[in-house]
Symmetry: C2
Subunit: 335 residues, 2 copies
Amino acid sequence: MTTLKELSKLLNISVSTVSKALNDSHEISDTTKKRVNELAEKLNYKPNRIAQQLKTNKTRTIGVILPTVTNPFFAEVLHGIEMAATNNDYDIIVCLSNETLNKEKRSLELLSNGSVDGFIMAVAREGQVKQEINHIQTILDSKIPVLMFDRVVDEIKCDKVIVDDFQSVYEVTEHLIEKEGRKHILLVSNIEELSVGKLRIKGYTKALEKYNLKPNILKLDNALDVEKSIHTYLSKNSEIDAIISIDHITGIVAINMAKKLGREIPNNISIVGFGYEHTELLSSPKISIIHQKAYDIGEMSVKLLLERLNTENHKAQTVIVPSELKLSESSKNSL
Amino acid sequence: MTTLKELSKLLNISVSTVSKALNDSHEISDTTKKRVNELAEKLNYKPNRIAQQLKTNKTRTIGVILPTVTNPFFAEVLHGIEMAATNNDYDIIVCLSNETLNKEKRSLELLSNGSVDGFIMAVAREGQVKQEINHIQTILDSKIPVLMFDRVVDEIKCDKVIVDDFQSVYEVTEHLIEKEGRKHILLVSNIEELSVGKLRIKGYTKALEKYNLKPNILKLDNALDVEKSIHTYLSKNSEIDAIISIDHITGIVAINMAKKLGREIPNNISIVGFGYEHTELLSSPKISIIHQKAYDIGEMSVKLLLERLNTENHKAQTVIVPSELKLSESSKNSL
DNA sequence: TTGTAGGCGTTATCAA
DNA sequence: TTGATAACGCCTACAA
């Protein structure tokens, strides 16, 4: 890589003159500027990023710590983060915790040595179950901003971007009851130990309470065979006339199983799931989804974090990104 | 952040002594080592990564440039890359080209200023269509190693990790003909302009040639409604007794459409797609898939790149990661 | 056993 | 208008 020093030698002028010329300083004559720029161009000079970072003590890099990236929700969030970061001339260093506390800790620790200006993260399942938060608080104490999205730790004071988990499920449940006349709504869950799962279940139960209906919850967390579990439940409980899946997979499975059992969708049973970009393509009839604006969540996370990086201690804020109910053929009153 | 200088001041010893003590140099007395380490511990000292990078001219960071991360194939590759990188104490900076040439160019350019030691990339769709490769060659000319995976540019000499696209489709086609007695095999494609798409199609046509069968190819590239296109084709061509989808979505759609048309799977028609981790869950009957070892591809990519970084110019090599045919209920002779 | 000095590549201050 | 010098934080050859 070409350096300032090399340029300065070749041109027989000082390093500092070269530097100023390249930065178009008014102190430098047009003729030298021209000479410098031409040679720089020719040798494809680029300022060494690492040296700049050392000098300015800013990395323009965000550490992004995700539980996984094969879950389409996190993939789409990452997409949003990457785009927003790029648009603001930031890089992202991505670490995957694989839902484990250890890897999450390690990543935070390793990157908090000056590698990044701040973090965007969703906590690992294990950490959320065990309620461990010290490693995150440590980072904050060392004055590195952390933004948490989706899965969030209430006890930690920092910027947060969350989804309207409670509200969206509450509303869809209410919709199923009021608009579609459903009375036996099953909730299928494989994430009930996550903060988001708890909120979604709460939205469901609260709505049922309002109408004096009784909850039916099928927890699949350790189920080896999701298809079979759902199939069995449905065949044994023929009164079920609606299913809400609170993740992005089991809703599709529910559609397939309902069809297999000869249930007519949506006449006989309505099915709603959580979904993202291409979820709808994957079932026939198309599944109704609570569409989480994952991309927006990513964008918003970057926005908030950069605000914090560029402003002196304003108060921590929490932004809720509303999701959108997309009713489809698998819902009775399809739009 | 605590620095060596701060420690040295507090302990009234020189910076270099502190540095040596922390690096457990034999030059330093045990008593000083102890003093230094205790204070370092107490103040949570961590060597500044940026300074180390500047000093050693090594970043221990890999630039990863992906077309997208919402495609589960690339998500899984990223997973493999991240894990392998972490295991070797490397970070990854992730950029998404969004399948555009511009973003890909920009990312390569921005990171080639000393930010990374090397690149792992799959080229954007646009670049592959337009056959533009100069930006990649430029990076290689500047002595930064590039490893290409999956979508690959033949004209560029560099390490490559690819899938056995031709072979796997050839074999599955042969299997459908020989073992399942299929004669009217439809290939559904939405990636025929990619290097991998071309190879898969070639595998299909070559196999058909061998048996003197005629190819049926349904190109969906610009199809607004994939479901409808497949539905229409199937209803007009009732002789079709097998479908091979060369991507990870349209196979699922094909299953749903075949069912809708009353076709019996697998008695009446066999359906095979490309897939990854959870693809099988999404259809009933479970789709047969050519399972690409995306995670392995990521791991292998890191392995090869690190080999190149740590060894003097050995020759460029290409590794083929074989995929695995997983026959399922949607195939006649299910295992 | 400890300390001094120089340098990685850049930028900023001050002097010429 | 240009150049010398110092500094960011770390490491290391060499001197003490």
